[in-house]
């Protein structure tokens, strides 16, 4: 079989208990179980993690860089959402 026809999977690794899974890369595989084996062999050869997630790349819905202005923008004009916006006397400024 041509490897290019195999579906693409994204691989996420939890490097240690208590931490979030982080995206480390992707690979081609027939199915999730095979993707899991490959992820172990490719991304975890040196104890890089304690847990793996694999997910079909086609199942990921991503935002578009070009939409940033309309989709993610509204935060810039709301400085009051930030703790540093509030000026407090120095005696209590560590709040």
């Amino acid at each position: 079989m041509n490897q290019q026809n195999l579906p693409l999977f994204e691989v996420f690794i939890r490097s240690n208990r208590g931490l979030d899974h982080r995206h480390v890369g992707s690979l081609h595989a027939e199915d999730p179980a095979q993707a899991m084996d490959y992820a172990r062999d490719v991304y975890l050869r040196r104890s890089e993690g304690v847990s793996i997630w694999v997910v079909r790349s086609s199942d990921i819905t991503a935002s578009q860089e070009s939409d940033v202005e309309s989709f993610l923008d509204p935060m810039d004009d709301k400085p009051y959402r930030h703790a540093t916006h509030y000026k407090l006397p120095k005696e209590v400024d560590n709040m």
Partner: protein
């Protein structure tokens, strides 16, 4: 678990080992049923508190004194809804559903923080909630960043990052009143008088009386005891009140040089028990409002679902 052959369960030993070594327990790990139940109770209670806590503040959105204070209040309440979502999602990793948790709340089987059963009577209460109630919550939540259940710990880290704005805006709003006219200052003092003791109650019963504390501490779900956290809150808050000329309503409050901490009076535990048993000033109102809001929003969820079915049918055609 098979108790019949009296063999210790190796999974239990592995679990206890992880806890002892300050490892986090993650969703797919084996865990004792009692641990699962305990962490679920704690997380669902915490999630409900975030959401119910939107009500006393929501009461003042349309009556905020300026447009600026209104947008700040809206932003804060929006955060609380988000915090509820983080916590419900973290709780769902244990195999329960948000629907079930909300149902338990409506059935009176799940609790939320007793403080939100007090009314927000004046604008000063909005500042006071940010300063005292969020301040007390932060003391608790900072400690919970190290809780032993991974998803709970990560939710706490996210929440603590956002929570600092809440407390600072509350203190700043209170400071403005305390530095304002005699009436404004009196309003701030009256608000402090009403919120101080309920804020101290937020940390729960004394360690010696707390039903779940011992086990939760053993499992490191809780990292510090109710009384330790309460003392920390008192010690940090008293100087903040003094700085803006407000008086803590406790005649027994006194700096203890030896302990390096404030001594303070006894909480009215009868009031605490009344409020957590459903007889606080606003218990029924809070719950009924939540039930009504869910019911009145049903048509929106129905419409979204109908639209989704229609879209799928169109895509399939």
């Amino acid at each position: 678990m098979t108790e019949t052959n009296n063999q210790p369960d190796p999974r239990l030993a592995a679990f206890e080992d992880k806890v002892a070594n300050d490892q986090r327990i993650e969703p797919k790990d084996w865990m004792p049923d009692a641990f699962r139940k305990n962490v679920l109770r704690q997380m669902s209670q915490h999630a409900h508190s975030e959401v119910i806590g939107m009500q006393p503040e929501g009461n003042w959105i349309t009556r905020a004194p300026t447009l600026y204070r209104k947008v700040v209040l809206l932003a804060k309440i929006q955060d609380e809804g988000g915090h509820g979502l983080y916590l419900y999602s973290a709780a769902e990793t244990l195999g329960t559903s948000r629907e079930d948790m909300v149902q338990a709340l409506h059935d009176g089987k799940a609790k939320y923080a007793s403080i939100f059963n007090y009314p927000s009577l004046t604008w000063a209460d909005i500042g006071m909630i940010g300063w005292l109630v969020d301040g007390a919550a932060i003391v608790n939540q900072v400690s919970l960043q190290r809780t032993s259940y991974g998803p709970y710990s990560r939710a706490m880290i996210r929440i603590c990052k956002e929570e600092s704005f809440h407390q600072r805006q509350g203190y700043e709003a209170t400071m403005k009143l305390a530095q304002g006219s005699a009436e404004q200052k009196a309003m701030a003092q009256d608000s402090l008088n009403r919120w101080w003791w309920p804020s101290l109650m937020m940390f729960g019963p004394h360690d010696s009386e707390s039903a779940h504390s011992g086990q939760s501490m053993k499992w490191k779900l809780k990292r510090e005891s109710n009384d330790v956290l309460r003392q920390r809150f008192v010690d940090q808050t008293v100087p903040q009140a003094e700085l803006i000329g407000l008086k803590i309503p406790d005649p027994e409050l006194k700096w203890n040089e030896e302990r390096g901490s404030y001594d303070f009076g006894e909480i009215d535990w009868d009031e605490f028990i009344q409020v957590i048993s459903g007889n606080g000033p606003c218990n029924r109102q809070r719950l009924q409002h939540h039930i009504r809001a869910k019911k009145e929003g049903q048509w929106v969820r129905d419409a979204m679902h109908a639209y989704e079915l229609k879209r799928q049918a169109r895509d399939a055609a």
